[in-house]
Symmetry: C2
């Protein structure tokens, strides 16, 4: 790992006295600065394409799309496209497509998980019930493919269609693993790669395709995106046990309460005493969580070093992502991709 | 309407003493006979493409796909393609795509409607809960687009992507109209055109696209499909008040109990006495359905001539579909399309 990566890997320590949200925001501001007007133009495409004769569709869609998400996936498309000197406008469309696909999966996820809050506000299903988000999610998938057909590049269509199939397989795998403590770390990482990292990889690939770069560049971008997405999800799953509700924008312990099998839980279960294992089985497999269960779970993942273990795993994925990115042509965008890898681990929400 | 259409329009009276299911089956057998091995080959494509590393996906998918659906939409693709003398194999792929899209919408529909039976067996959500069908529906959408990308024709991709967006809009419109007696016949027909007839139209268009026919042929096929699909859905909505559970393969009165606003209900409401209107408001808008409500609703739609009215509307749509079809080149397939129009109204399930 070169000096640039290392210096970034060490910054952003978690100062207790300073708003952690504002630390995160300064990294996002830096990324936005590198991208210039591209993110704003992407947001305009999103707004325009969210339109429908049925007013509930843009209403419900924008409830989630405008809820302060980090736009990491479209940012990835914009950075990777700009990095190779692209001068057109089509990356705005493709970045918007990526955000639509992401939003569709979130709408369906929140229905499936019966989640009530996301990004500090009510989920669509909490506001409109579970029916409309299923259908509006379908609309967003369809609209994304309409935009890709208008764009007219079958290579892009293939990347996105393949990604959508892999994502839905990952979601089904995750559903089947839930409440099942026999799920091991490899199975967990497979779910993470599919349900989250595949779209990061697809978003990053766009840069090579739009610039007609050789296959090697596309593969490296895909590899970077996959590693970044995995790191990002592992951190997400760790924050669910370690963040504060205020910072995270959603309930802490959601995964635990839903019986979702994530890395901190897997580690704590396998390294727990016999009594601790009985606790995990009772909470997760028997779905028996009397008051105090979440507090004990949080205490155990700390005591057993499971949070540190998971963060270590995330950090090594992010380091690998950064090491992949530094091989791209030197540019502000390349540096931003490296910084994004670090941010995926050092963020607080 | 020419003599051929009229003779078909008058056949298949509803003999009480004969199994109505077997009457329906003889029409389907005739359609299968015209198509030859094409439907079997389409089913093989469906089976092959339903495969996934996640076994629940083919398991849940085939639960619905192999539940004895009539395969009308793929049949439409096969007939329209053969009618113009097509000699390739790609219509099997496109017919399978159409069935995948249809199946995905059914999976999501049944979750949204919380339906427990379809085609005489339990719905996927009744067997697996509502979570897996949402995700497997997403997989089927994605897989359909993967198949279209492999096929590589952007015109076909556009037809299907556009159809999917219109369908999801129609589903949202239907959701918004539910339990709302202010919904009028035009709004109802708009929902029907979108949620059902759009896919029939897309399925029929394939024949013109695969045979590189002029735009006029594609438009006529789309028009035929749209009319057929509308007739089909209006009949569906009428059967929900008039069929027997055994014949229909799902519960009678589902629409009434869910507060779905369909043509028989709209007609009966607008032609009812003041007291009858209070009954409808109480049942549909106030969702107050004490024992005996469904029986009274069925009695009222009969007494007010609402079933006859809806069937009349369906018949005139089907007649128009048949009149559109007879203008296609004379062939067994053309005759089958005409017959299919009649069947859409004269069927019993």
């Amino acid at each position: 790992m070169d000096a640039f990566v290392q210096s970034h890997a060490q910054e952003a320590p978690r100062h207790q006295g300073r708003s952690v949200r504002s630390q995160d925001q300064s990294v996002l501001d830096y990324l936005h600065d590198v991208i210039g007007t591209d993110l704003g133009e992407t947001n305009e495409v999103i707004l325009e394409k969210l339109d429908s004769q049925v007013p509930l569709i843009p209403e419900l869609g924008s409830h989630l799309i405008n809820s302060g998400g980090k736009r990491l996936r479209p940012i990835l498309t914009l950075l990777s496209t700009r990095m190779f000197g692209y001068r057109g406008k089509q990356h705005h469309t493709l970045a918007a497509v990526v955000e639509f696909i992401h939003t569709a999966t979130l709408l369906h996820d929140d229905v499936v998980d019966e989640s009530l809050t996301r990004r500090g506000r009510q989920t669509a299903n909490a506001v409109w019930g579970s029916k409309a988000p299923v259908l509006v999610g379908d609309f967003l998938f369809s609209r994304a493919f309409q935009m890709l057909v208008d764009h007219g590049d079958l290579r892009v269509l293939k990347v996105i269609a393949d990604a959508c199939a892999v994502i839905s397989e990952g979601e089904v795998m995750q559903l089947l693993a839930s409440n099942n403590l026999a799920t091991d770390e490899n199975q967990y990482m497979e779910v993470v790669a599919r349900k989250t990292a595949t779209l990061f990889a697809a978003a990053a690939r766009m840069g090579a395709i739009l610039n007609l770069r050789p296959a090697e560049d596309e593969e490296n971008l895909a590899r970077y995106g996959l590693l970044l997405g995995q790191a990002y999800q592992v951190v997400d799953d760790t924050l669910d046990y370690s963040a504060t509700r205020e910072t995270l924008g959603k309930g802490i312990g959601d995964d635990f309460q839903e019986g979702k099998i994530t890395l901190p839980l897997i580690h704590a279960y396998h390294h727990g005493s016999e009594e601790e294992r009985r606790f995990w089985v009772s909470c997760i497999e028997d779905r028996n969580q009397p008051p105090g269960s979440l507090e004990r779970a949080i205490e155990l993942v700390r005591q057993r070093g499971s949070l540190d273990y998971a963060m270590g795993r995330a950090r090594s994925l992010a380091d690998e992502a950064a090491a992949t990115a530094v091989r791209f042509p030197a540019s502000r965008e390349r540096d931003a991709l490296v910084k994004l890898a670090t941010f995926s681990v050092d963020r607080h929400h």
